[in-house]
C-alpha cells in the first residue's frame, strides 16, 4: 500500500491482522441460520445489478458462443439457430488443421514473447527513473508517456503509417545514424517488429503508472539503510526494490498478457494482417472467420485463445508469486 506515512520499519503492524480491540467478541457469536440467510440475501442484493447486467449481456452471449463452437453454425443459420448440426470437437480439429490458424498462433506467440518483456522492462526502467532518478517535471513526463494510452487507435493509425513508410520519419531518423531503414510494413521480417514497436508505444504508459504506484510502496528507509550499509544502486534495486515489486509486476504482466494475446487493433489498422500473413494474429483470424460467417469455427478459435490467456496468467502467478 502506498502511503506517505509508513511507520518506520520494524514497527509495521503484522500484515493481515485486524486492528485489535474493536469488536466485542459477543457480537460475533450471534451466528444463526436465519442471520446467515439474511446476510446471503443482502449480499446477493448488493451483487444484483451487476449480476443482472452481467447475466444478460455477457454470460448469455458467452454461453451461446461456447455452444456454437461445437456446431457447424454459419451466418445462414441465424434465422433458425436450433436447426444446426452438432459436430462435437470437429471445429477445434479443423482449426488445428488450418495452416493459416497455426501461422496466426505463431505470430501471436512472437508478439507476446517479444512484446511483453520489452514493454515490462522499458516501463520498469521508466518508472524507476521517474521515481528516484529525477526531481523535477515528474508530472509532465508522466502525462507525456501516458498520452498514447488515452488515444483511439483510429486516430493514431494514420500518423503511424506515415512514420513507417520507406521514406517516412523513422527511416529518416535511422538515416542520420547511417542505417538504411527497411520498408517496415511491407517486409515479412520487419512488419511484426514495427507493430511491436507501436504496441509498446501504446502500452508503456499503463505499465509505467502501475509500476510507479508499486515503487511508492517501497519504504525509503530500507533503501537508506542499505545505502548506509554500502549497497550500490544496482544492488539496492535487485535486492530490495525488485522483490518488493513482485505483486505489482504480476498485476502488470497479467494485464498486459490479457491484452497482448488479443493482439488485433494494430494489424487491423496498419497491415490488414499482411504481408504474407506475417502479422495475422489469432484474434484477427477469428475476426475474419466471423466476417466469413463461419461462427462455429470463429467461436472455437476464440476459446482456444481464451485457454491460452488463462494458461499464461496462471503461469505468471506461479512464476511471480511471493514465496512466503
Amino acid at each position: 500500500m502506498a502511503t506517505t506515512n509508513a511507520p518506520p520499519a520494524g514497527t509495521k503492524p503484522p500484515a493481515g491482522t485486524k486492528n485489535a480491540g474493536r469488536p466485542p467478541a459477543r457480537a460475533r457469536v450471534r451466528t444463526g441460520q436465519s442471520r446467515r440467510r439474511r446476510n446471503a440475501i443482502t449480499a446477493w442484493l448488493f451483487a444484483l445489478p451487476f449480476v443482472l447486467i452481467f447475466g444478460v449481456f455477457m454470460l448469455g452471449p458467452l454461453l451461446s458462443s461456447f455452444l456454437m463452437s461445437f456446431t457447424d453454425f454459419t451466418s445462414r443459420d441465424i434465422e433458425n439457430p436450433f436447426a444446426v448440426g452438432f459436430v462435437g470437437l470437429e471445429q477445434y480439429a479443423a482449426l488445428f488443421r488450418n495452416p493459416q490458424f497455426l501461422h496466426s498462433v505463431l505470430n501471436t506467440a512472437y508478439f507476446v514473447v517479444v512484446g511483453i518483456p520489452l514493454t515490462t522492462i522499458l516501463a520498469l526502467a521508466l518508472a524507476v527513473a521517474l521515481n528516484n532518478g529525477i526531481s523535477r517535471f515528474r508530472t509532465a513526463f508522466r502525462v507525456g508517456f501516458y498520452t498514447p494510452v488515452v488515444t483511439s487507435i483510429v486516430a493514431v493509425a494514420v500518423v503511424w503509417r506515415f512514420i513507417l513508410q520507406p521514406d517516412g520519419l523513422l527511416n529518416v531518423i535511422l538515416g542520420w545514424v547511417g542505417i538504411a531503414g527497411p520498408d517496415w510494413l511491407n517486409s515479412t521480417t520487419w512488419s511484426m517488429p514495427a507493430l511491436i514497436m507501436m504496441a509498446v508505444w501504446r502500452n508503456l504508459g499503463t505499465l509505467m503508472i502501475i509500476f510507479l504506484a508499486g515503487l511508492q510502496a517501497v519504504p525509503g528507509d530500507i533503501l537508506e539503510a542499505a545505502e548506509v550499509d554500502g549497497a550500490n544502486a544496482w544492488q539496492r534495486f535487485m535486492k530490495i526494490t525488485l522483490p518488493m515489486l513482485r505483486p505489482t509486476l504480476l498485476l502488470g504482466t497479467v494485464l498486459l498478457s490479457v491484452g497482448f494475446l488479443q493482439f488485433f487493433e494494430e494489424p487491423f489498422v496498419m497491415t490488414k494482417g499482411g504481408p504474407l500473413d506475417s502479422t495475422l494474429s489469432v484474434s484477427y483470424f477469428t475476426y475474419n472467420q466471423f466476417g466469413f460467417g463461419k461462427y462455429g469455427l470463429a467461436s472455437a478459435a476464440s476459446y482456444v485463445l481464451f485457454v491460452a490467456i488463462a494458461l499464461l496468467s496462471l503461469l505468471q502467478f506461479r512464476a511471480l508469486r511471493s514465496k512466503d
Binding site: R76, G85, Q165, N186, T188, K272, G274, P275
Partner: protein, 424 residues
C-alpha cells in the same frame, strides 16, 4: 478448483442448451428462389429506411427530396455508414434482424448477403444497364436489386513522361503495356515503370482483368465448381508477375498515400485504377496536372476486359415497405436522376443512355471509362467469394513476394477454393 455449486450450475446450463439445440440440421435444402411479387401501382407512400456508405450516404438526402416531392406520401430516412466497417454493420444487422428497407451494396458483397435480399420484380427494366453490372446483381440465377452506379478499372499513365520515352500512343496490347512501363523506367527517370498491387487485400481482384482478357473463367458455366487453375489464368499471372520479377513494379504495397504521390512525382508514373483517382490525382498534383496524364482501356490479349465495380441498390426481404422501396429503386435508375447524381458525387451512371449526355461524352478521360464499361466482367456472386478472394490474395502475395510459380500458386488456390466450396 471449482466450487461444487459451480459445477452443478454449469452442468444444468449445458444440459438445457443441448436440449434446445438437440434438433439437428434439416435435411431439406434452402427454400427455392422466391418468384418475385409484382410491385403495387400508384405513387410510393410510407417511410423507407435506407443505408448508404460514406459520401453516398451524405449526398443522398438532398437528391431524395425530389423523390419525396414526386411522391407526397413518402418519407425516406437515410443513414450514412462508414465504408471501413460497413461489412460488419450489415452482417450484424442481418444476424439481429434489424436490416433497413433499402441498402447500397458493394458489387462483391452480393453473394454474401443474397439470402436476405428481396428478388427483383418483373417491372424493373434492366435492358439499358451495362451488361457487366447486371451480371453483378445475379446470384445463383436470381436477380436482386439494381445496379446503381458503376466503376471500372483502366490504365492511368503519365502521357508527358511517355512522350519523353518516345511513346505517343496509348498502350493497346499486353506488349505495348510492358513496353510503356519499360520506357518510363529506362528513359523517363521513373524508379518503377508501373504500380501494381502486390498482395494487399483485393489484389487478386486487380489481376482479374488480365485473366479475363486472356480468356480465363473463374467458374464452370453452371456455377457449381471453381475453375481457378486454368492455363489461361496461369499465363495471365505469369505476365502479371513478370513486372515484379523484372523490377518494373515495386513489391511493396503502397501504404498511406504513396500511390498518388509516386504517380505525381514520376517515380511510378503508371497504374491501374478506377474513376475516383481522377479527382485524387488532380488534388495531389495541383494546378495543371490533369493535362500531364491520360487514361486508356485495359491492354488487350484476346479481349480487353476489365473489372466492373461500383454499388447496387437492394431491397431487404424483411422490408415492411417493399412496394415503396422498389419504386425508389426504379426512380434511382432513371437516366436523368443518375445524371443529377453524377453531378453531385461523381458516381458514374449504370444506365448506358445517361452516358450520351455531354458532361460525360465530351470528357476525354470519362469517355474512356464509358467505353471500357461495355466490356467488363465481375467475380462470381456466390456466398463464399470473400473467402476465396482472401485465400487468393495471399497466393498473389506469394507469387509476387516469395517468387512462387503462378501455376503452383493457382493449384494450391484451386485446392483451397474446392475446400471452401461454392456455398451451395
Amino acid at each position: 478448483m471449482i466450487h461444487p455449486n459451480a459445477k452443478k450450475a454449469a452442468a444444468v446450463g449445458l444440459a438445457t442448451a443441448l436440449l434446445l439445440t438437440g434438433c439437428g440440421r434439416d435435411s431439406a435444402g434452402s427454400p427455392a428462389a422466391s418468384s418475385a411479387k409484382p410491385i403495387a401501382s400508384g405513387p410510393a407512400s410510407g417511410t423507407i429506411t435506407l443505408w448508404a456508405q460514406g459520401s453516398e450516404g451524405e449526398a443522398l438526402p438532398a437528391l431524395l427530396k425530389e423523390f419525396e416531392a414526386e411522391n407526397p406520401g413518402v418519407k425516406v430516412n437515410v443513414t450514412a455508414i462508414p465504408w471501413d466497417a460497413a461489412l460488419s454493420k450489415y452482417q450484424t444487422a442481418i444476424a439481429g434482424g434489424t436490416t433497413p428497407d433499402v441498402a447500397q451494396m458493394g458489387t462483391t458483397w452480393m453473394g454474401d448477403f443474397a439470402s436476405s435480399f428481396d428478388a427483383t420484380p418483373q417491372e424493373i427494366d434492366a435492358s439499358d444497364f451495362f451488361p457487366g453490372s447486371v451480371k453483378s446483381t445475379e446470384v445463383e440465377g436470381t436477380t436482386y436489386g439494381v445496379p446503381w452506379y458503376v466503376d471500372t478499372r483502366v490504365v492511368y499513365y503519365r502521357s508527358d513522361l511517355a512522350e519523353k520515352a518516345g511513346i505517343t500512343k496509348a498502350p493497346e496490347t499486353w506488349d505495348d503495356f510492358k513496353a510503356l512501363a519499360k520506357g518510363l523506367q529506362e528513359k523517363a527517370g521513373a524508379k518503377y515503370g508501373v504500380q501494381l498491387p502486390a498482395g494487399v487485400a483485393g489484389s487478386y481482384l486487380d489481376t482479374l482483368p488480365f485473366q479475363w482478357s486472356n480468356g480465363a473463367k473463374l467458374m464452370n458455366d453452371d456455377g457449381t465448381k471453381w475453375t481457378l487453375d486454368t492455363p489461361e489464368a496461369a499465363e495471365a499471372l505469369k505476365y502479371y508477375s513478370s513486372f515484379f520479377a523484372d523490377g518494373l513494379a515495386s513489391k511493396a504495397v503502397s501504404t498511406g498515400t504513396t500511390a498518388e504521390a509516386s504517380f505525381v512525382d514520376g517515380s511510378a508514373p503508371m497504374m491501374i485504377s478506377g474513376p475516383w483517382h481522377v479527382g485524387l490525382l488532380n488534388k495531389a498534383g495541383g494546378e495543371g496536372f490533369e493535362d500531364k496524364y491520360k487514361v486508356a482501356p485495359m491492354p488487350k490479349e484476346t479481349t480487353s476486359t476489365s473489372f466492373v465495380g461500383g454499388s447496387n441498390m437492394v431491397v431487404f426481404k424483411k422490408s415492411e415497405n417493399r412496394d415503396a422501396s422498389w419504386k425508389l429503386l426504379q426512380w434511382l435508375s432513371k437516366p436523368e436522376v443518375q445524371l443529377k447524381w453524377y453531378k453531385a458525387t461523381g458516381d458514374l451512371p449504370s444506365q448506358q443512355s445517361a452516358w450520351k449526355d455531354q458532361s460525360l461524352a465530351s470528357d476525354s478521360k470519362l469517355s474512356v471509362f464509358g467505353d471500357q464499361l461495355k466490356n467488363t466482367n465481375n467475380p462470381p456472386a456466390v456466398s463464399t467469394w470473400t473467402q476465396v478472394a482472401a485465400a487468393a490474395d495471399s497466393e498473389i502475395e506469394q507469387i509476387v513476394k516469395a517468387g512462387k510459380d503462378p501455376a503452383e500458386a493457382l493449384k494450391s488456390l484451386q485446392q483451397a477454393a474446392d475446400s471452401i466450396g461454392t456455398g451451395k
